[in-house]
């Protein structure tokens, strides 16, 4: 569906509040962090996964592409620093919103990432809708699978990041913990990495981009804006809330910049293709 048809499809009520038919979902800060996260995640996956499948020819080849296991290890740490920076910037923003802006809405409520009982109900409702036994649940700003994505990354940051830092500075940590903790750190670093990469490259890709309604990709994470009509259709609870609160005017936005859209599509497609390549190699190695 082209941008124009989306704009034309916007409802008359919305046209008053959002005259272009487009609204903002993510601001520049969040979009930049997502790009940073994508790049560091792919970088970590490409320099780390070969170790998990070191008995495969492709693992050695991937490792040689960057010049061997030592350069790969160096790059892995560079990307790790990048990802930790991303995490830090996100945490910093959360703290600013809570303590600076006193925006407690992000801690609880429809705009919050914190899971609520409604999410469980919507999960059940969604599955019922899958099998044709009920209407589609009325999702708000963040659906349960989006919250899962978010907390999976949050948890992964702690687990992989923590164990990774332990393996990065073994001499330092050995002063405080016995050596067999490194065995545990190595194990969970690898297993959790497997979980994270396969999850992102299959479930997140499908939910966010590759499922038929979104195929080939949802560009909102790159452009920041989406048609108001999409909000109305896919997140009716958010739409209703925005209409009721009169918040539509606040988030009204111009249609996506053509150049940004183009760049987002190239970046997104590249990332998806790289991810699918890695997950194919991974699943092939796991199942054969």
């Amino acid at each position: 569906m082209s941008e124009e048809s989306f704009a034309a499809a916007a409802s008359p009520t919305a046209e008053v509040a959002a005259p272009t038919g487009w609204v903002r979902r993510f601001d520049g800060y969040d979009r930049s962090l997502h790009v940073l996260l994508m790049v560091s995640f792919l970088g970590l996956a490409f320099t780390g996964l070969p170790l998990l499948f070191s008995d495969r020819a492709w693992a050695a080849q991937l490792s040689r592409v960057v010049g061997g296991f030592q350069p790969a290890g160096f790059l892995h740490r560079v990307f790790a620093a990048c990802m930790l920076l991303t995490f830090g910037l996100h945490l910093g923003r959360l703290l600013k919103k809570i303590f600076g802006d006193r925006d407690y809405g992000i801690l609880w409520g429809p705009r919050s990432m914190v899971p609520r009982p409604e999410d469980l109900k919507q999960l059940v409702g969604h599955v019922r809708w899958f099998v044709g036994r009920g209407p589609r649940p009325e999702f708000d700003r963040y659906s349960y699978w989006e919250k899962f994505d978010y907390w999976a990354v949050f948890w992964g940051m702690g687990i992989i990041g923590g164990s990774g830092l332990m393996l990065w500075f073994p001499k330092f940590w050995a002063r405080f913990v016995p050596g067999d903790v490194f065995n545990v750190a190595l194990l969970i670093h690898g297993e959790e990495a497997l979980l994270a990469t396969v999850f992102i490259f299959t479930v997140h890709f499908f939910n966010g981009h590759l499922r038929p309604e979104k195929f080939p990709m949802d560009t909102v994470i790159f452009t920041g804006v989406l048609p108001l009509d999409e909000v109305k259709h896919e997140r009716p609870a958010e739409y209703a809330r925005l209409v009721a609160e009169g918040g539509l005017e606040r988030i009204a936005a111009p249609p996506p910049d053509r150049e940004i859209l183009q760049r987002g599509r190239i970046l997104g497609t590249t990332a998806v293709l790289l991810g699918l390549l890695l997950v194919t190699l991974t699943l092939y190695a796991l199942l054969s």
């Binding site: 569906m1 048809s5 034309a8 499809a9 409802s11 070969p50 170790l51 998990l52 070191s54 008995d55 693992a59 050695a60 490792s63 061997g68 296991f69 030592q70 969604h126 599955v127 809708w129 899958f130 099998v131 044709g132 699978w145 393996l167 073994p170 001499k171 050995a174 002063r175 913990v177 016995p178 050596g179 067999d180 490194f182 065995n183 545990v184 190595l186 194990l187 969970i188 297993e191 959790e192 497997l194 979980l195 396969v198 999850f199 299959t202 479930v203 499908f206 939910n207 499922r211 038929p212 309604e213 195929f215 009509d229 259709h233």
Partner: protein, 415 residues
């Protein structure tokens, strides 16, 4: 006593001489010149067209020629022949008349056994290695059996795929790979007389088959002592190791020198060998290789990089003892020093890391076992849940898209 007896014998022979002269003359053995009358002709040929030429100069220059030996000393069946030209088929020269010990030793060799088994055997005979009319002392630089020339002599057969189909192979078990080995280079390129040649390990005349004859100097049980004749300090270390002790008890399944170093392609410590050692040790220590593969050391080495610890870096190459032995490099007493060789400055806590941790072994580490179980449940749980979720969502999503497209075609604005 012996002198006196010798004197008596000499006196007897001297007095007997006139009597012998009076008796009818026995056939006089042909002199070398008699033989050369025919054999010196370069164009002289046997019935089958092969040359029967003997170069007088070459024979005179040989160790036998220089010592004044005559043709019939070796071709003994011609000593009593009067009817010339003699038959083409002569007995093979028997060297034992003068070289009894060498021929006796040769009799114990696989070369001799092979010839005894089949008349068609091409196994080496005296002349195959030493030559015939041109024989030189081994100390002579031109001799086929000179220290520096011997590999080429042996390789005439052992490097020929006609005799040994795998002779050209470079897998380390084949003789040709000797040329590129540290021994071969020391001998042939550096010209070191202390470098070993074939005979140093296999023996000279008494070369036994390492596979078929347990008395062979290079049979499994004897490999360490053979290598140890030069590498004596290594032999001392090996002999007191668990492998050496087991070998002494008759367990030939333990690794001997050639298992890790190969038989002929022996190289000085190389990256390729540090990786190859994993296969060697892992052949018996399967579980240790498997658990090693779960660690960073094992993962990196599996990709073909060798700048990480492989077996011998921690366990040493020759002084391997069980971890419970106070001499062991990985035992409690020496483990820290061993780890510090690559990880300088690490402390006692660091070396509690288990380089062979086994997630299946609950007794080895309860913590690791439990963590592994938790991670497995987490992974299976997450993928089972979202697997089903996705599989159910997909057809519904296809329908949703089709419905939306249909509505748009019908001119409905609200999708």
């Amino acid at each position: 006593m012996r002198m006196r007896f010798g004197g008596v014998l000499a006196a007897f022979l001297l007095t007997a001489a006139p009597l012998r002269a009076a008796a009818p003359a026995p056939p006089k053995p042909p002199a070398n010149d008699d033989c050369l009358a025919c054999h010196e002709d370069p164009s002289a040929k046997r019935a089958d067209g092969s040359s029967l030429f003997v170069d007088k100069k070459i024979f005179d220059g040989s160790v036998h020629g220089a010592a004044g030996a005559s043709c019939v000393d070796c071709h003994t069946d011609l000593a009593k022949t009067t009817d010339f030209p003699h038959p083409e088929k002569l007995a093979k020269p028997d060297c034992s008349g003068c070289h009894a010990q060498q021929v006796e030793d040769y009799g114990k060799s696989w070369h001799a056994a092979s010839r005894a088994k089949s008349p068609l055997s091409k196994a080496a005979w005296c002349s195959d290695c030493h030559g015939s009319h041109d024989i030189q002392r081994s100390s002579d630089k031109t001799s086929r059996t000179n220290h520096f020339n011997l590999p080429a002599t042996c390789m005439r057969c052992h490097g020929d795929p006609k005799f040994f189909p795998r002779a050209g192979g470079a897998d380390g078990s084949e003789p040709m790979s000797f040329h590129d080995s540290i021994h071969g280079k020391a001998l042939e390129k550096s010209g070191l007389k202390i470098a070993p040649n074939c005979a140093t390990c296999h023996g000279t005349h008494e070369i036994r088959s390492p596979r078929r004859d347990p008395k062979s100097t290079v049979a499994r049980a004897h490999v360490p002592s053979t290598c140890g004749t030069c590498h004596s300090k290594i032999l001392d270390e090996y002999a007191t190791s668990i492998h050496g002790e087991q070998l002494a008890k008759g367990n030939t399944g333990v690794p001997v020198c050639s298992d890790c170093h190969s038989a002929h392609a022996i190289a000085s410590s190389s990256d390729a060998r540090r990786l190859a050692i994993l296969r060697e040790c892992g052949g018996c220590h399967e579980r240790q290789l498997k658990t090693y593969r779960d660690t960073y050391h094992g993962q990196v080495s599996a990709m073909g990089f060798s700048r990480v610890a492989t077996c011998a870096d921690c366990h040493t190459a020759h002084e391997i003892h069980p971890a419970g032995d106070p001499r062991s490099s990985v035992g409690p007493a020496k483990r820290l020093t061993t780890c510090q060789r690559c990880h300088p400055g690490v402390g006692a806590s660091f070396v509690k890391y288990d380089p062979h941790a086994d997630t299946h072994d609950r007794g080895r580490s309860q913590l690791l076992w439990a963590t592994s179980l938790f991670m497995k449940i987490l992974l299976v749980g997450v993928f089972a849940f979202f697997g089903i979720h996705t599989v159910l969502w997909f057809p519904r999503s296809v329908k949703a898209r089709r419905d939306a497209n249909g509505k748009r075609k019908n001119g409905e604005r609200d999708v």
